[in-house]
């Protein structure tokens, strides 16, 4: 496709000094694209690492008895699996994709604060290293669950440096998130290209904006809670110790006031990704742009008022208030679902790998989303709290939601980032293995939970009858592991060994501005920008070029007819 003439009202910036190459270039980069790739690669590394921890968990639970690890090590496994997935994979991969594509989608040459951007990455990497370094200590890593409930997380019951390293690591990662969110806000508010109004922003950028709002308003709460816990552990404080006038319930309020918006931080960017993919692969415009924007904003705003549905069984929170607000937040999510379906309705669906993962996301997140209101009802929650029913729900929304959509985004955007297409054949193998593995792993957990199997236990008695389902779950996890291996093979062959087809500027027929530049984009992102008159500027430019070609061909045919 051709791009229109450079908009002369806004001169393109001059490229700065390129600097030395190699490892020094990576260490000193301020280019949002390189920083985005660093985030994504690091996040995938932690996804693999945390996944290996999950495989050890499943190996232990496949049969009664302690065959693989002892109870203390098992506690470390599920704690660091959850911590790694939530804090060091899901959020950072979204931030990495945001880093790479927000400036491109708004027509900017970089983010508002490039050096701050680089600092946020190094702070995140340092924090992740600090948290996981607990495994290298004598007492091992943190072992009280990723939720860190007091008093178990206090020094009395969790002595040793591992827990302190977990706290400090999360404070560092949280600070990184806050600074990155500020950067995203400044970028979107002040660096949009001419004609790019707020209601012409791509939906992925909108979703990252709402995610940044949640990060800015809730990560300080987590940071404060972690600081209070550190004071309790290291300086003799008593914030969460009833014997000193504190309250263990206070930790739960603080943690979940962060923790529930956190799960929306983990899903909203991926909602944005699928909203980018569905119109392109349905060959239709997005149905209800403003409705989906408003639904996204409403999800973000409502998420501040649902936190204590995680605390129903404490008996000290208002069940009615939190049931109503938790049910209410399903409404804007439903609006988004119907928008996606309406976009696909009567479209010419192209079942390329990004669209396969997107459809997988829709189905899997729907299942997880249905069990959510179940858990929002106190009578059901009292029976299923801290059982595998919750684990099943959480993994359907997190894995079926975030992970499927993340892979959809990778297959959609890796051609832009690298200039090479990933193999469609390997991509389809990856999708089907992951879909089968995910359902085999997490669907049976619903039944385990209803049968009463508690979460976070290293062993169970043979008389419980839980072993057959646990064995199915463990075998299913091997399918997931195999699917991730297929993805890594695909990336190595297609991108690193350069065997993938050359992507070109716009291999999918995309709509937003990132498809108006080369693959990969140059240092300054754009040599020219198409006119921005809608939320689909590249589509509009492509249509205009096609209509111009048709008009030219038509006038030539007419003149030849007259001259002949």
């Amino acid at each position: 496709m051709t791009t229109a003439q450079l908009d002369r009202e806004r001169p393109m910036p001059r490229p700065g000094h390129a600097g030395p190459g190699g490892i020094v270039s990576v260490l000193t980069t301020t280019d949002h694209k390189v920083i985005g790739l660093l985030y994504i690669c690091t996040a995938i590394g932690f996804f693999v690492l945390s996944g290996l921890l999950a495989l050890l968990i499943r190996a232990e639970l496949a049969a009664p008895g302690l065959q693989v690890v002892d109870r203390s090590t098992y506690n470390q496994l599920f704690t660091m699996h959850g911590t790694g997935m939530v804090f060091f994979f899901a959020a950072p991969v979204a931030i990495g994709l945001g880093n790479y594509f927000i400036p491109l989608q708004i027509g900017a040459p970089d983010v508002a604060f490039p050096r701050l951007n680089a600092f946020t990455y190094w702070l995140f990497a340092a924090g992740a290293f600090v948290a996981f370094s607990g495994f290298l200590t004598e007492s091992g890593a943190a072992a009280f669950g990723w939720t860190g409930y007091a008093p178990l997380s206090e020094a009395t019951y969790s002595p040793g440096a591992g827990a302190n390293l977990w706290i400090v690591g999360l404070i560092m990662t949280g600070t990184s998130g806050i600074l990155g969110a500020v950067n995203f806000f400044a970028t979107v508010f002040s660096m949009r290209a001419p004609g790019m109004t707020m209601f012409r922003l791509p939906i992925f950028t909108w979703n990252m904006l709402v995610t940044s709002l949640l990060i800015m308003l809730t990560f300080p709460v987590l940071t404060a809670a972690l600081a209070m816990l550190f004071i309790d552990r290291a300086l003799g404080g008593g914030f969460f110790d009833p014997a000193q006038g504190g309250s263990a319930i206070l930790w739960q309020h603080l943690f979940w006031f962060f923790g529930h918006p956190e799960v929306y931080i983990l899903i909203l960017p991926f909602f944005g990704i699928v909203t980018e993919i569905i119109p392109v692969f349905s060959r239709k415009p997005l149905f209800g742009y403003r409705a989906i924007v408003f639904a996204t904003v409403l999800i973000g705003v409502l998420s501040f008022s649902v936190w204590a549905h995680h605390m129903f069984t404490t008996g000290v929170v208002s069940s009615l208030f939190f049931t109503v607000t938790s049910m209410a937040i399903a409404i804007p999510t439903g609006v988004k679902f119907f928008t996606w379906i309406a976009t696909m309705w009567r479209g010419r669906i192209w079942l390329a790998t990004p669209m396969l993962f997107t459809i997988g996301f829709l189905l899997m997140f729907l299942i997880g989303g249905i069990t959510g209101p179940f858990l929002a009802a106190p009578p059901i929650d009292y029976a299923t709290h801290d059982t595998y029913f919750v684990v099943a729900h959480m993994h359907y929304v997190m894995f079926g939601g975030s992970v499927f959509a993340a892979f959809a985004g990778f297959y959609f955007w890796i051609p832009k980032m690298t200039g090479r297409m990933l193999s469609e054949g390997w991509g389809k193998v990856h999708f089907w293995l992951m879909l089968i593995g995910m359902n085999a792993t997490f669907f049976p957990m619903h039944q385990l939970g209803l049968d009463g199997m508690p979460r976070r236990i290293a062993d169970y008695a043979p008389s419980t009858g839980w072993q057959p389902i646990n064995l199915i779950v463990s075998v299913g996890s091997l399918f997931i592991a195999a699917s991730v291996g297929v993805f890594i093979v695909n990336v190595v062959l297609s991108v690193l060994l350069r065997r993938g087809r050359v992507a070109g500027d716009d291999p999918w027929g995309g709509y937003s501005l990132e498809w108006a530049t080369t693959s990969p984009p140059p240092h300054h992102n754009f040599t020219s920008l198409p006119p921005i008159r809608s939320e689909r500027p590249v589509f509009d430019a492509r249509q205009a070029a096609a209509e111009g070609s048709e008009a030219l061909a038509s006038s030539r045919a007419e003149s030849e007819g007259l001259g002949g």
Binding site: S25, A118, V168, F230
Partner: protein, 150 residues
């Protein structure tokens, strides 16, 4: 009103309302006012309000043309999705940036400083003090680079 302001205003207004409802609902059901949640919601109101203030003083034109079209029009411009045509015509960043940022060692040194400080908080001053020293150097270098650029 510009969307940049409405974005935070919706959060602030919702949080004021929900904090008030929560304050009374928590007493009605549990017999005691729930301070932690109410204070946290008040924090959200305060933070969103601060963002409105900071954004508002930098975008004075964002407040214009809010009150128009009666009650419905005003509500739509204040909380809804209406976009002001005057704002649509303006460029957010007049003229664009002059120069793309160069490579900089100070962010990675800042990250290294954070690593030393973090480990130092756990293991003691023999890591903490060098971390603080590296952090001070990184801050000085960062500000110095910015000063030389401008």
């Amino acid at each position: 009103m510009a969307e940049e302001l409405r974005f935070f205003l919706r959060t602030a207004v919702y949080s004021v309302v929900i904090a008030t409802v929560y304050w009374f609902a928590s007493y009605a059901e549990t017999g005691a006012y729930e301070w932690a949640g109410t204070v946290l919601l008040a924090f959200v109101v305060f933070s969103a309000g601060a963002f409105i203030f900071v954004t508002g003083i930098h975008v004075p034109a964002a407040w214009r043309s809010t009150i128009r079209g009666g009650v419905t029009g005003t509500l739509n411009r204040t909380f809804g999705m209406a976009e002001d045509p005057d704002i649509m015509a303006r460029h957010p960043l007049e003229g664009g940036p002059d120069l793309l940022p160069t490579a900089s060692p100070w962010p990675v040194l800042g990250g290294a400083a954070a690593l030393l400080i973090g480990m130092g908080l756990v293991y003691g001053p023999w890591l903490l003090l060098p971390g603080i020293a590296v952090a001070i150097g990184a801050v000085i270098g960062w500000i110095g680079q910015e000063t030389r650029r401008t």
